[in-house]
């Protein structure tokens, strides 16, 4: 089974103190943030590599990003992917989901594959749209929010994650595209040694011009958004408990005793 996996590099902000520049256009301290593979995409890479290990075939990674995005491709190669393609072009800056899907489509349309995987969404923009748009452009069958994949003789049986503790079982014809939900597997650990071992694998690079992409379909010009202004959310409503460790714990213990009716 030949598999293509679309991945994205995103900043890690979970414990970061973020600030916004005064124009409201971007994170101010972006250079301080550690870049990492989008969490959903990491699960997608693991899933693709496992399918390859079980059924044979190849895994090809694609990303749109700058030269630093090579890091996540190397990481994916260390996990077991065979090839990697980097679409490196400033022109994608400001793209909406359709712009990104269009860029990926221009590469995918010339590849041979049985299955395309993407993450359900990216952590940064959180569109959750690129995978399905790409499937539609490629005229592939698809399923979003995949948490289980069963390969059958003809096609796939997929469990989709719905709300309220419920899964939906569907049957898909191949070739297909799946958007992968977190928790579908336990992604393998990637060591520095592992990444070093794949340093000689060539990464294919391309850009918008080589792909014959009209510039009015990508970037700010191609985006459906005319203006985006960022701000930090207003401060939370919580009463913040401060003081020494012991004082805070005593206050919390009192609240638990009072509200929980326990002694």
């Amino acid at each position: 089974m030949d598999i293509v996996i679309c991945v994205k590099q995103v900043p890690e902000v979970k414990d970061a103190d973020l600030s916004i520049n005064k124009e409201g256009t971007d994170i101010d301290n972006r250079d301080d943030l550690v870049m990492t593979i989008n969490e959903w995409d990491n699960y997608a890479v693991e899933e693709g590599v496992r399918l390859k290990e079980t059924y044979g075939g190849t895994v090809t990674l694609i990303t749109i990003g700058d030269e630093d995005a090579e890091d996540i491709l190397r990481r994916g190669l260390a996990m077991g992917a065979d090839n990697a393609i980097l679409i490196d072009d400033e022109a994608f800056k400001g793209s909406d989901a359709q712009g990104i899907a269009t860029g990926l489509y221009e590469v995918l349309k010339d590849l041979e594959f049985d299955l395309v995987l993407t993450g359900v969404q990216s952590f940064d923009d959180g569109w959750g749209q690129v995978g399905v748009m790409l499937a539609e452009l490629m005229n592939l069958s698809y399923a979003t929010l995949a948490v289980k994949i069963n390969v059958q003789e003809k096609g796939l049986i997929i469990h989709r994650e719905l709300e309220s503790n419920t899964l939906e079982k569907v049957k898909l014809s191949l070739p297909a595209l799946l958007t992968i939900q977190t928790g579908i597997n336990t992604p393998r650990y990637v060591s520095i040694m592992g990444i070093r071992k794949v340093r000689n694998i060539g990464i294919e690079e391309t850009d918008a011009e080589e792909l014959n992409l009209p510039l009015d379909q990508i970037g700010f010009e191609g985006s459906c958004i005319s203006l985006r202004k960022l701000s930090l959310p207003p401060a939370g409503k919580a009463e913040m408990l401060t003081g020494s460790l012991d004082a805070v714990c005593e206050t919390v213990a009192d609240i638990i005793r009072k509200k929980g009716g326990i002694s």
Binding site: P11, K14, D15, A16, D17, A97, Q98, A101, V120, F123, D124, G126, W127, G128, Q129, V132, M133, E136, L137, S141, Y142, A143, I157, H159, L162, E163, S164, N165, T166, L167, E168, K169, V170, K171, L172, G183, C224, I225, S226, R228, K229, L230, L232, P233, G236, K237, A238, E239, M240, V248, C249, E250, V252, A253, I256, K259, G260, G261, I262, S263
Partner: protein, 325 residues
């Protein structure tokens, strides 16, 4: 008069809450901008469902077909292909749900309609431009958007944001439409729903939940949380990353795709508080959150917040109760 479409969502013959949340949003947009509201109902059996929509919109556009018994994108797209061209809606509201995330981007691409997902606010300005608000970076940044002009837009709406409590007081007429034959579609076939069975503790029955998130770091540390929970007679639950990593069973997961809980006390330890998690616990009586990130979104809904390292907090708070016993 411009028309707002609301794509209704139902499962096993019952509407999902998001349907009425979108109708409430559509009602306020329509009232302020002189639009009409049309609910789209694709179902195998409209009789019970359409009545529930009657007072919430001006028109119910119904297609009844066995193929609509359960959502599947092929059939839904075929239906929209027919009605979008005929009706010319200016705004199409879809839930940012497992159904909407599957459907809306495909509608956007196939019908060349710009789509913005997961919106928490929707406004139409005086000049007619569409203004949207959404959260990015896991809720740590708000983004306000102004859209470029377009004859129509698709907006997917975050669940649980718009209140469906009010009585809308519209009076809908029902219009039926037929859909083309689906013979050559069937690229994806619905098989069944699987409801996950709870084999261990039922977290929805607990009075006090001690809930643990990614901040706990590793599987071995769950024991510290269990010890605290035991000391106060609480049950241990978790956020998505902990279940994803297999540190606790999925049946302990609080949130949109897991369980909705309403304990007297909810103690969130190392949980950042993505909106999917908040949706599952925001109605708890008292919410206490401990997180080392002062900007964690969990502090937006907690009653009490503590910015502290869990591994300092946990032993000391546990000790408070062991001493008392």
């Amino acid at each position: 008069m411009p028309e707002i479409f609301v794509v209704t969502e139902h499962r096993k013959g019952k509407f999902r809450d998001i349907t009425f949340e979108m109708l409430a949003l559509a009602d306020s947009l329509a009232s302020a901008n002189n639009c009409s509201v049309t609910a789209i109902l694709l179902t195998d059996n409209a009789s019970g469902l359409s009545e529930k929509l009657r007072s919430a919109c001006d028109c119910i556009l119904v297609a009844e077909d066995p193929a609509f018994a359960n959502y599947s994108y092929d059939e839904y797209l075929a239906a929209f292909e027919k009605i979008i061209g005929q009706r010319n809606p200016s705004l199409i509201l879809v839930g940012n749900t497992a159904m909407g995330m599957d459907l809306a981007p495909a509608m956007s691409t196939r019908f060349s309609i710009p789509c913005v997902s997961d919106c928490v606010n929707v406004e139409i300005s005086d000049d007619g431009s569409l203004k949207l608000k959404r959260q990015i970076y896991g809720g740590k940044i708000d983004a306000s958007l102004i859209m470029k002009p377009s004859p129509r837009y698709i907006v997917t709406v975050r669940a649980g944001v718009f209140s469906a409590d009010g009585n809308i007081g519209r009076n809908a007429k029902i219009e039926n439409f037929s859909v083309p034959a689906f013979d050559n579609l069937k690229r994806r076939q619905f098989i069944e729903y699987i409801e996950e069975i709870t084999e261990d503790v039922d977290i929805t029955a607990a009075d006090i939940l001690v809930s643990v998130g990614r901040g706990i770091g590793k599987s071995e540390n769950i024991a510290l949380v269990q010890e605290f929970a035991d000391a106060i007679g609480a049950t241990v639950s978790c956020s998505r990353p902990v279940a994803d990593k297999g540190w606790l069973p999925k049946s302990r997961q609080v949130g949109t795709s897991g369980k909705t809980v309403k304990p007297k006390i909810y103690i969130a330890l190392g949980i950042s508080g993505a909106f999917q998690h908040q949706a599952g616990m925001k109605n708890a009586g008292t919410i206490i959150a401990v997180n080392k990130d002062p900007n964690a979104p969990i502090f937006n809904i907690a009653h009490y917040g503590i910015v502290m390292d869990l591994f300092q907090f946990l032993p000391r708070i546990t000790e408070k109760f062991k001493q008392g016993a």
